[in-house]
C-alpha cells in the first residue's frame, strides 16, 4: 500500500527537523559570528531549489524507483554507480544520526549507561524499521512531526525573553570572511532535502501531486530550525556560542515559565529522540532499498543484519565519541555532502535537459 503525499511530506519534514540545531550553531558562529542568518537564508534558498528540481525530475518518471530514474537520466552504468553512491550517502546519514543520539544521551543524560547499549538499541530499532518499510514509517511520522514541531515552536517562544538583540549587531558583515565555509554547514543539513527523490516512488501515483504544498512543508521545517539556530545567537552571544557543544540543549535549559514549569528540556529531548530514531530508521531503509534496487537483491534479511554489523563496527572504529563525530561532520562531511546535495542533482538536471532536447530535436 502506497503512502499519501502528505505522509511523504511529513517524513521529509521530520528528516529535516532533527539535526541542524544539535551541533551546527556553534560551528556557524565560529565562521560567521552573528551573521549566520545570512548563510541560513542562502542555504535555505539553494536547498529549496534543489528540492524543487529533484521533485520535478522524479515526477517525470512516476512509476520508477530512484535507481531507475538515475539510470533513465544518466544511462545504465552511470545510473547504477550513482544509485550505489546514494545508497552509501544515506548509510552515512544513518551512521551520523545514530551516533548523534548515542553520544548526546551518553554526554548529557545517561553518563553511566554504556554507549554500546544505546547504540545496539538504536541499530536494532533501525533494522526493525527497515522490516516495517517506509510506508509504516511515513504514517508514524505525521503524529511525531506535529509533536516535534510544537515543542520546537514552544522552545522558540519560551526563550524569547532571554534574547538580547544587541548580539545580532552589527546586522550586516563588513567582509566575506568565513562566509562560504559558514554557508556550507547549514547546506550540509538542509541539502538532505534530496531525500524527496527516494521517497517519491512510495507515494500514491493516483493522488494529484501537490508540489507547492510539499515545498511549503519543507520550507516550514527549514524555517523553524533556522529560527532556533538564530535564537542561539540571540541568547548566547557569538563568543559564548562557539564554546558550546550542545547549544540548543543549553538553550532549552533556560526555559522557565514562572516557578512551576521548569526542566522542560525533557519534553524536547524525549520527542527529539523519538524523531531521530524514526529518521535513523528512514535513512537505513532508504539506503537498503537503493542497494537492493541497484544490485537486484532478492534475499535480504541477512544482508540487512550484515549492514547493521558494519554500521556498528564503523561507528565504534571511526566515530566512537562526540569529538570524532563532530570532527567528521564539520571537517569532512560538509564538503563531501556537496556532491550529493548539489553536484549530482545539478548533473542530473543537465543530463535530463540535454536528453529532452536531443529527443525533441530527433522527433522534429
Amino acid at each position: 500500500m502506497k503512502i499519501t503525499y502528505g505522509q511523504m511530506t511529513a517524513l521529509i519534514m521530520l528528516t529535516l527537523s532533527v539535526q541542524i540545531y544539535v551541533f551546527a550553531p556553534s560551528f556557524m558562529a565560529d565562521h560567521m559570528g552573528q551573521h549566520l542568518w545570512i548563510s541560513l537564508i542562502i542555504s535555505i534558498t539553494i536547498s529549496m531549489l534543489v528540492g524543487w528540481g529533484m521533485l520535478n525530475l522524479s515526477l517525470q518518471f512516476p512509476d520508477k524507483s530512484f535507481t531507475e530514474v538515475l539510470k533513465k537520466v544518466t544511462g545504465k552504468y552511470p545510473g547504477t554507480l550513482l544509485s550505489f553512491l546514494y545508497s552509501c550517502y544515506y548509510f552515512i546519514l544513518f551512521l551520523i544520526h545514530t551516533q548523534i543520539i548515542v553520544t548526546m544521551f551518553r554526554t548529557l543524560f545517561l553518563p553511566r549507561t554504556p554507549s554500546l547499549a544505546t547504540l545496539l538499541l538504536v541499530l536494532i530499532l533501525a533494522l526493525y524499521c527497515s522490516f516495517l518499510g517506509i510506508e509504516v514509517l511515513a504514517r508514524a511520522s505525521s503524529m511525531l512531526l506535529i509533536l516535534l514541531t510544537s515543542i520546537l515552536l514552544f522552545l522558540i517562544v519560551a526563550v524569547i525573553p532571554e534574547v538580547n538583540l544587541n548580539h545580532f549587531q552589527p546586522l550586516l558583515p563588513y567582509s566575506m570572511e568565513g562566509f562560504w565555509s559558514g554557508t556550507l554547514i547549514p547546506f550540509a543539513h538542509y541539502g538532505q532535502v534530496v531525500v524527496i527523490s527516494s521517497l517519491l516512488p512510495f507515494a500514491n501515483k493516483n493522488e494529484i501531486t501537490k508540489q507547492p504544498r510539499i515545498m511549503a512543508g519543507i520550507f516550514f521545517s527549514l524555517l523553524i530550525t533556522a529560527l532556533i539556530v538564530i535564537q542561539n545567537i540571540g541568547v548566547f552571544d557569538p563568543y559564548e556560542l562557539r564554546r558550546l557543544r550542545y547549544p540548543t540543549v543549553e538553550l532549552n535549559t533556560l526555559i522557565r515559565v514562572g516557578e512551576f514549569l521548569e526542566r522542560t528540556e525533557i519534553f524536547l529531548v524525549t520527542l527529539w529522540a523519538g524523531a531521530v530514531m524514526l529518521v535513523v530508521g528512514t535513512f537505513f531503509t532508504i539506503s537498503w532499498t537503493l542497494l537492493k534496487n541497484t544490485f537486484h537483491i532478492k534475499k535480504s534479511k541477512r544482508i540487512r543484519v550484515a549492514m547493521m554489523v558494519i554500521a556498528c563496527t564503523v561507528i565504534l572504529l571511526f566515530i566512537p565519541n562526540s569529538n570524532a563525530l563532530v570532527s567528521f561532520i564539520f571537517d569532512q562531511w560538509v564538503y563531501l555532502s556537496l556532491l550529493f546535495h548539489l553536484g549530482i542533482p545539478l548533473t542530473l538536471g543537465l543530463c535530463y535537459t540535454f536528453r529532452r532536447k536531443v529527443r525533441g530535436h530527433a522527433a522534429r
Binding site: L110, P170, E240
Partner: protein, 381 residues
C-alpha cells in the same frame, strides 16, 4: 524459529530500554540547593554544600522540632574532589540539577576563580540559570547564616536577588549572563555582592552568629579575577546607564528646604555614538518616570523634575569620570561601539586604553513626574 526470534529480540530491547545504569530513585537523591566556594590556601578549597531536607517543606510542619543540619563543608584540592567527598557523609546521591545559588568567596575571586568556574561550566547537571554571588568574607558563613521566611539560605538569597532589589544597587546574574560577558574579549563580567548583617539592623557583621544576609552592590571581574567593587551609589549610576533601575527604587535629595523623595515607576536609557574629528563621543539619554513620596512645600513639578534630573546626572557623571580615571569599562562601551560602528571599533580597539579615558560622554536625564501621591493636603505652617 520465528516464534523464538521475535520474543528474544523484544527481550533484548527491554533489557536495554530500562537504562538501569542511570536510574535515580527519588528517595536516594540529595538535592543540593546551594554551593559556597572559598579558597583557604593556595591550592585548597573549602566547599560548602547546602541541601534540601524535604520534611522542612511539609505543609503539616516539620516532623521533629529539632532543626536539621543541611550544610556541610569539605576541604579539597579540587571542586570535583569536594563534590565526590560529599558522598562520604551523604547517604543519598548528591545531584546538582536543582541548585539555585553558587556563592564565591571574596578571597577566591581576588586570586582567580577560572579553574573553579570552568569545573562548574563543565558539569551538565548545573544549569545555566543558577545564580551567582560574590560573598564579602567567606561563602561558608553565608550559607550558615539566615534569611527571613526561607529555611534554605540558597533559596533565600536567590529570592532576594530575583524578587526584591527595590534599592536598585545590583542586578541578578546567572551563569548564562556571566559566561556571555566573561567569554566576550571586550567585556567585563559582573556579579552581585552578598554580605552578612546583624539581624537587628543593616549593619555589617563579621560573625555568622545571629546574622542575616544582605545583597547589595556589584563586583566586576576580568578574566575570572575580581577587578573592582562598586559602591552603592556607583552601582545605582551603573544601573541608570544600563536602563535597569527597578520599579519602586527610591531617590532621596536634601534640597535645603526639605527632602524630596521620588519613587521610580519606569526607567529606560538610550545611547548614541557620534564621531567628531576622529574623536568618538557618546550621548547617554536617561529617562525615568517617577512618583513623588515626599517634597518640600511649594516646590513645583517642573522644579522637582529639574532637581531629580540633576541628582541622577551628577551620580552618572561622577561614576563615569571615576571609571575613566581607573580605565575600567564597566558600562560595556567597547561592546557598544563594536556593535554600532565596526569601522570605528577596528580603528580604536588597539588603542582602547588611551581612547577610553578621553572619550567624551554627554549625559542627558529626563525625569517625568507621573503623580505626587496627593492623598493628603499640605497645610503651610
Amino acid at each position: 524459529m520465528q516464534h523464538v526470534r521475535k520474543p528474544a529480540v523484544i527481550m533484548l530491547c527491554l533489557l536495554l530500554l530500562t537504562a538501569c545504569w542511570d536510574r535515580k530513585e527519588i528517595s536516594d537523591v540529595n538535592f543540593i540547593m546551594g554551593m559556597g566556594i572559598d579558597l583557604i590556601e593556595d591550592d585548597t578549597y573549602r566547599v560548602t554544600f547546602q541541601w534540601a531536607y524535604p520534611p522542612q517543606f511539609s505543609t503539616e510542619g516539620a516532623a521533629s522540632s529539632q532543626e536539621e543540619n543541611t550544610v556541610f563543608s569539605i576541604e579539597a584540592d579540587t571542586i570535583p574532589l569536594a563534590m565526590a567527598k560529599l558522598t562520604e557523609i551523604s547517604p543519598r546521591v548528591p545531584i546538582f540539577s536543582h541548585m539555585e545559588l553558587i556563592a564565591l568567596g571574596e578571597e577566591l575571586l581576588s586570586k582567580n576563580a577560572e579553574d573553579v568556574i570552568n569545573v562548574i561550566d563543565r558539569e551538565f547537571e548545573i544549569r545555566r540559570t543558577v545564580n551567582l554571588v560574590m560573598v564579602k568574607g567567606t561563602a561558608e558563613s553565608m550559607l550558615r547564616a539566615e534569611t527571613p521566611f526561607e529555611k534554605v539560605e540558597a533559596t533565600g538569597i536567590k529570592e532576594i536577588i530575583q524578587l526584591s532589589n527595590r534599592s536598585s544597587t545590583f542586578e541578578k546574574v546567572n551563569l548564562n549572563v556571566f559566561f556571555n560577558h566573561e567569554t566576550d574579549p571586550h567585556s567585563l563580567s559582573y556579579i552581585p555582592i552578598a554580605e552578612l548583617v546583624s539581624d537587628t539592623a543593616l549593619h555589617t557583621t563579621d560573625s555568622s552568629e545571629s546574622s542575616w544576609i544582605k545583597v547589595e552592590r556589584i563586583a566586576f571581574l576580568e578574566n575570572y579575577r575580581l577587578k573592582r567593587e562598586l559602591s552603592a551609589r556607583e552601582a545605582r549610576a551603573w544601573l541608570f546607564v544600563r536602563g535597569e533601575v527597578r520599579d519602586g527604587t527610591i531617590t532621596q535629595i536634601n534640597t535645603g528646604n526639605g527632602k524630596l523623595v521620588g519613587r521610580s515607576i519606569a526607567q529606560s536609557t538610550s545611547k548614541k555614538l557620534d564621531k567628531q574629528k576622529d574623536q568618538p563621543s557618546l550621548t547617554i539619554s536617561v529617562e525615568e518616570k517617577v512618583s513623588i513620596i515626599d517634597k518640600p512645600l511649594a516646590m513645583s513639578i517642573v522644579k522637582m523634575e529639574e532637581v531629580l534630573a540633576n541628582s541622577v546626572k551628577e551620580q552618572i557623571e561622577e561614576t563615569i569620570a571615576k571609571m575613566q580615571e581607573e580605565n575600567l569599562d564597566i558600562f560595556f562601551i567597547r561592546s557598544f561601539i563594536r556593535h554600532k560602528d565596526r569601522k570605528l571599533w577596528s580603528e580604536i580597539k588597539d588603542e582602547w586604553e588611551e581612547v577610553y579615558p578621553r572619550l567624551d560622554f554627554k549625559v542627558q536625564v529626563d525625569i517625568d513626574i507621573q503623580h505626587e501621591n496627593a492623598l493628603r493636603n499640605q497645610i503651610p505652617e
